[in-house]
Symmetry: C2
Subunit: 592 residues, 2 copies
């Protein structure tokens, strides 16, 4: 059985040493004193470690059960959900106007990491609710907001997003779900949606489905798609629950992982729906939700990697096998622990340096989102938009690889379900797929985000890296171990961006053939930047006489590993990008 | 539901265009005329596509069932096993003296690829039998060989290998299973073994367990380990089955994949065993089995990748989603097929170029093994010994990654068990672990094989690459697309080997910190060499006026992709290797 301990100390390091949140002028940040965030993180850490983590295997083994139209979540999920909601965790970063606690998103991100690390399937019930909340909050009428948000604020009502149909996922213009306008301004929604996470369950008294459908007679394709609010139970004028709406679960999907989350086929049969946002502008409203969701999914990649890593470390210290090549280290035992072996170290360092770098990246991104929303900062919005596909795609691809590595540390025991390491791998696998498969993220990055606003945001990113290097060049230790590798990697990123700009117009396939490589290259540079910044922060703490020297020295050593061993991947990605489309597109489809 | 079609055409290309088997002086090779091998491959292709592939999902869903000490394999497995054995497939490459057909191992390898691609769990029942057969064949007395081999020849009796105990896998010196000598020369074996593939089942009338145990009073540690033959049913003097032996299945492991294979906990309770080979020299006898097994596991990596790839191609051609960026390609449909998109192409080319390169590598390796065994060629034996960990480790790591990529092509549908793509990933995962986890393969490569016989074999490999390049330099097209990249990659391999030699003595951790990278670097150079050779063969066929120009041109284009996009990974591995042990070993164990 696996365990999870929230890494609150490292989270505090990121918030305070690295991001220095209290010094920020983003509204709400000045309240984030270290004692305050520590109290929140410790409390969230407690419930995730003690309540949610033990339910992780239960969810995997039991899964969800559909009986007579009712979905039963795994044993203990409902009680834990009530506990989490009563403690107010879902409303942490939501709008006080509707009952939320109004904390900055960066705190919600830290707590979200814990929820997803301890029990991803469980966290998704809340995660989808937050996404639906965000969409109604941004695009709903005052009446809609007043009706739904206070109840969704703390998951009294939960939410879902209904996009996919069996024949269309990415290409939503092909959808067949229909919306027939009614005299009272509502619509009758008919169609079938698949892969609906948390689509039906027994955890909340109502479920607010956000559903994409085409209004009869509207434009063809994606321009005729609208977004609707379709509650499971209709809501009476007084706010009480009314009749059951025409929406029902058809079946539960049998999946590779996240068994604890009910992934449903949802059938809409003349279900009453209410337009959310403008008619035929459904994609816009959906993207509000999706951008939040994509950052959340990136966080899942990091979270699963951390949970798997923690268990790999425990096993590597505990399992006795072989002797250190440099001499016996555990003379009283029959063998040395796995952790003495260099290849096990390499694997653990891969994992550790990814997890900590990704954490810094995710929280920094959350501050950008906070800045864009709370300070109405257009540059921050541009930057976070640019990086959203990187966060989603890179952190989930790498996060998955790390769960595979963590599983590998267990040897044969890693393949046995009882040990729990397989679950991390199987659960982490979905994050590369949902909310836009990672190939689509790469396409979004190269085909849309890179050149948006005339390339302004990527230029801002380059300038930021350059300025950081320049400002710190006089620090010789930082320069050799961190700034030089960062400079080199950043140059690879710029060279590839230039390649796309030069080729993009005359040969779009050349850019798109390198899109996944570019996404990874970008991700590595972001983590390289984070590690350089963390190294600076750690050095500063040591110079200032911090008592916990071991923590800061470990931070520096872990960063050096990333810069020396992981960051050079940028050169491979660049080489692939520069090889262009010729070899990628050489074959006729029939030749595969 | 997935399908599998044996790639007989490509197999014929490897055997005849590339390896030119009939021109070899290895005994038995001159019989391998194209018509003959074609007939065998077509026949094996038929049974694997029509009988075994449809049972693959059945095995995954049903798994094996233990009831009152009896293990029931999935529905249809027993009938299919009888069919495969009656057709003589297991005995294809076995010794005619004991009923085998005596064909070269390279043919057995091609058929083995099909078996493992169509149904890995099923193929393992035979695969383990072949391994046990090889060990008895090499180390058994004449009486033992006469008793067991004729029945194991065609899986009338099956075999297993019992190494692992719950507290020791790699470090077998820690084992606790005991062997008490009896007056009649036999032993009483007592102990518990775990993770025993095909340990108990209903497919054969007897199961011949090969079991590692320590003879009471023998040397401590690995030097006191002996190998024993422990039949499930004792064998009477007349060869008929006698009493049930003291060996019984304790439980079936619940695993991430290969559910169709019964992975058992085996309990030995005063079971009668017969020493195989010399006392206390069990590891030597076991390694005969293990080296065969490791090549077989490498083949599984390739096989699962091919099966997954084939289905990804079908889906990519069938699924309509989005439009080609260069203009509509399917004007009559609502969207273009996935295969028009560059990032899908990239993924399919990654898979295709790996599968075909790996196939050439595996079959070439089989010819080396044939040469070492049939021609008693010590150089061939040295080379195949050197490359065994590369075949096992690289082909299974990469093979797994390819199943993940194939699954990704399906988007959300790839995560749904019903589609079958998850099974390829889950089944392929074990190959990175069993028969020595890939980290152990890397250790074997760098710590043992690289310097064996004074580095003679790795030098021979370098010379072979160099000679090939030199011989073909006048071919300008080959030179630019294939020889130059190969030269550069081979240089990276040499540089890293030199690094290990220089550092190895004074800092063994420096070599071992780069062991996994070296294994991958080596694997890429091997595939690069194979692709250069295949390009030469394809060009020659085209120059000779071969009618199937599309096949050969596709081969060349696929090779160019590998050289341009995959082979440059050698530089990343080299950079990591050269960074040494400092960052890898920097932390105290407590700092993780």
């Amino acid at each position: 059985m696996t365990t999870y301990i929230a890494p609150t100390k490292d989270m505090q390091f990121v918030l305070h040493d690295l991001l220095k949140v209290t010094q920020s002028d983003i509204p709400g940040y000045s309240d984030l004193e270290a004692d305050f965030t520590s109290a929140i993180l410790e409390e969230a850490g407690k419930i995730t470690s003690e309540v949610l983590a033990p339910l992780n295997a239960v969810g995997d083994i039991e899964g969800c059960r559909l009986e007579n139209g009712v979905v039963y979540t795994p044993k203990g999920f409902k009680e834990a959900f009530d506990m989490v909601c009563e403690a107010g965790w879902p409303s942490l970063a939501l709008d006080p106007e509707y009952g939320g606690q109004g904390m900055p998103g960066v705190i919600g991100t830290a707590v979200g990491e814990m929820l997803n690390a301890s029990n991803q399937s469980f966290a998704m019930y809340q995660g989808l609710t937050n996404g639906a909340y965000a969409s109604i909050h941004a695009h709903g009428t005052e009446a809609q907001k007043a009706t739904y948000l206070p109840k969704m604020n703390n998951c009294e009502w939960t939410g879902t997003m209904n996009l996919t149909e069996s024949h269309c996922g990415t290409d939503l213009g092909l959808m067949r779900s229909k919306a027939a306008p009614q005299d009272d301004g509502s619509y009758k929604i008919t169609g079938q949606k698949i892969f609906i996470s948390s689509g039906e369950h027994d955890m909340s008294e109502n479920i607010i489905h956000l559903v994409l459908a085409k209004i009869n007679g509207g434009p063809e394709g994606i321009k005729g798609v609208s977004l609707f609010i379709v509650p499971k139970f209709l809501i009476n004028k007084d706010g009480s629950l009314g009749a059951r709406n025409g929406v029902a679960v058809g079946s539960i999907e049998e999946k590779m992982g996240i068994h604890g989350n009910s992934t449903c086929v949802m059938n809409f049969d003349d279900a009453t729906g209410y337009l959310l946002g403008d008619a035929h502008k459904g994609m816009r409203a959906m993207f509000t939700m999706m951008n939040h969701a994509r950052l959340g999914v990136g966080l899942q990649g990091l979270a699963q990697a951390d949970a798997a890593y923690q268990n790999a470390v425990i096993y590597a210290k505990d399992r006795l096998q072989g002797r250190a090549v440099t001499g016996v280290e555990n003379p009283d035992g029959p063998a040395d622990p796995l952790i003495v072996h260099p290849d096990i170290r390499r694997s653990l360092m891969d994992q550790k340096s990814f997890v900590e770098g990704a954490r810094a990246f995710a929280y920094w991104s959350a501050t950008l989102l906070d800045k864009s929303e709370r300070s109405k900062d257009a540059d921050a919005l541009g930057l976070i938009s640019l990086m959203t596909p990187v966060i989603k795609g890179f952190l989930t691809d790498e996060g998955y690889d790390m769960t595979v590595q963590a599983q590998q540390v267990y040897g044969g025991h890693g393949y046995i379900e009882e040990q729990g390491m397989s679950q991390f791998t199987r659960d982490a696998r979905i994050a590369m797929i949902y909310e836009g498969a990672n190939g689509v993220q790469a396409l979004d990055l190269v085909g849309r985000k890179l050149a948006s606003d005339g390339g302004k945001h990527v230029m801002a990113f380059f300038a930021m890296v350059k300025d950081f290097i320049k400002e710190n060049e006089s620090d010789e230790a930082l320069k050799a171990d961190f700034l030089e590798p960062l400079k080199s990697a950043s140059k690879d990123l710029q060279t590839s961006a230039m390649f796309f700009m030069a080729e993009g117009m005359k040969n779009p396939n050349a850019a798109l053939s390198g899109s996944s490589d570019f996404m990874h290259l970008f991700g590595h540079v972001c983590l390289g930047l984070m590690w350089a910044r963390m190294a600076k922060a750690a050095s500063a703490a040591l110079a200032a006489g911090a008592s916990d020297t071991e923590f800061y020295e470990t931070k520096l050593a872990t960063g050096r590993y990333y810069m020396a061993r992981r960051l050079p991947a940028t050169k491979l990605h660049l080489a692939r990008i520069q090889s262009g489309a010729d070899t990628v597109m050489a074959l006729a489809a029939e030749s595969f």
